[in-house]
């Protein structure tokens, strides 16, 4: 068993996944708020927020997907 192949213990991995999950939940809540605010503005005739909000939402998605990818990478190292 090498340290290189196995950088985190099980306890550490659980802590990491908890931290990531907290971060992801905050980002998803932000996205929900963005979606409702954009929809509300759009229905009110204000279309200026549509593209900036979409860009921020994509950034949140990329962050979330990146975190999930990192988690799977951590997992692969234990096999």
């Amino acid at each position: 068993m090498s340290v290189v192949n196995r950088p985190f213990t099980r306890g550490q991995r659980t802590t990491i996944v908890n931290g990531m999950l907290a971060f992801v939940i905050v980002l998803v809540i932000l996205q929900l708020w963005l979606l409702t605010a954009t929809m509300s503005a759009y229905l009110g005739g204000d279309v200026s927020a549509i593209w900036p909000a979409a860009a921020v939402s994509v950034a949140c998605l990329l962050l979330n997907a990146g975190l999930l990818r990192y988690l799977y990478r951590i997992e692969r190292t234990r096999r």
Partner: protein, 212 residues
């Protein structure tokens, strides 16, 4: 069965009471663990790297189960995040689609002489689903607005003598000259239909949704 000539049993799992807790295999078959953290052995006694993938996704010990559960929840949250992003782009697509549908098309509405001063006429613009009002407010002026109240889309009714447009549903009142809300629940002006008068003929040339 593991080879009995192996190293002594791992102390963390070498006690009789453990048998039955894992529900997988008798404690007597435990050999030295390949992985110090592998608290539970599979029934065939082989280490985790030789087990099928499904066994790691359905762990039977609590800490590992907790980890897998959180990882799966995180996956679900990322999918939710994707759904919200798709929602944002759906709004953008909707906007693009609506703008394409309502691109100003010049439509003849009436001859100015057809509408007496103080009278109104309804018409549909830019599509058949968009009712509008054309009001002749004086000898020289006509105004046109969407007939949908900006509160909850009830049909508004002009009151030329009072210089207002009323919404009968919730007592909303708009200024006849500008379409701006004056009283009641509406906060946004009525959508304005831009007009062009040429040779005593009235044409609608576009519709403007306005903000607060």
């Amino acid at each position: 069965m593991p080879d009995s000539s192996r190293e002594p049993l791992d102390v963390r799992i070498d006690f009789e009471e453990r048998e039955g807790l894992t529900g997988t295999t008798p404690a007597s078959i435990y050999g030295p663990l390949h992985d110090a953290e592998q608290a539970t052995l599979a029934p065939d006694g082989r280490p985790a790297e030789f087990q099928p993938a499904w066994r790691t996704d359905f762990p039977i010990d609590w800490p590992e189960d907790q980890y897998v559960e959180r990882r799966e929840f995180m996956k679900f949250m990322v999918l939710t995040s994707l759904a919200f992003t798709v929602g944002q782009f759906w709004i953008a697509a909707e906007r693009w689609w609506r703008r394409r549908d309502t691109e100003s098309e010049k439509v003849r509405l009436a001859a100015i002489g057809d509408i007496p001063v103080g009278a109104a006429r309804t018409f549909a613009y830019p599509t058949e689903e968009d009712p509008c009002l054309l009001v002749r407010t004086s000898e020289r002026s006509v105004v046109a607005y969407s007939q949908k109240c900006t509160h909850l889309s009830c049909a508004v009714i002009p009151d030329v003598a009072a210089g207002v447009i009323r919404c009968p549903c919730h007592e909303g009142i708009f200024d006849l000259a500008t379409g701006r809300p004056m009283a009641g629940p509406p906060r946004r002006p009525l959508a304005l239909v831009t007009l062009e008068i040429r040779d005593s003929e009235i044409f609608a040339t576009g519709i403007e949704t306005r903000n607060v």
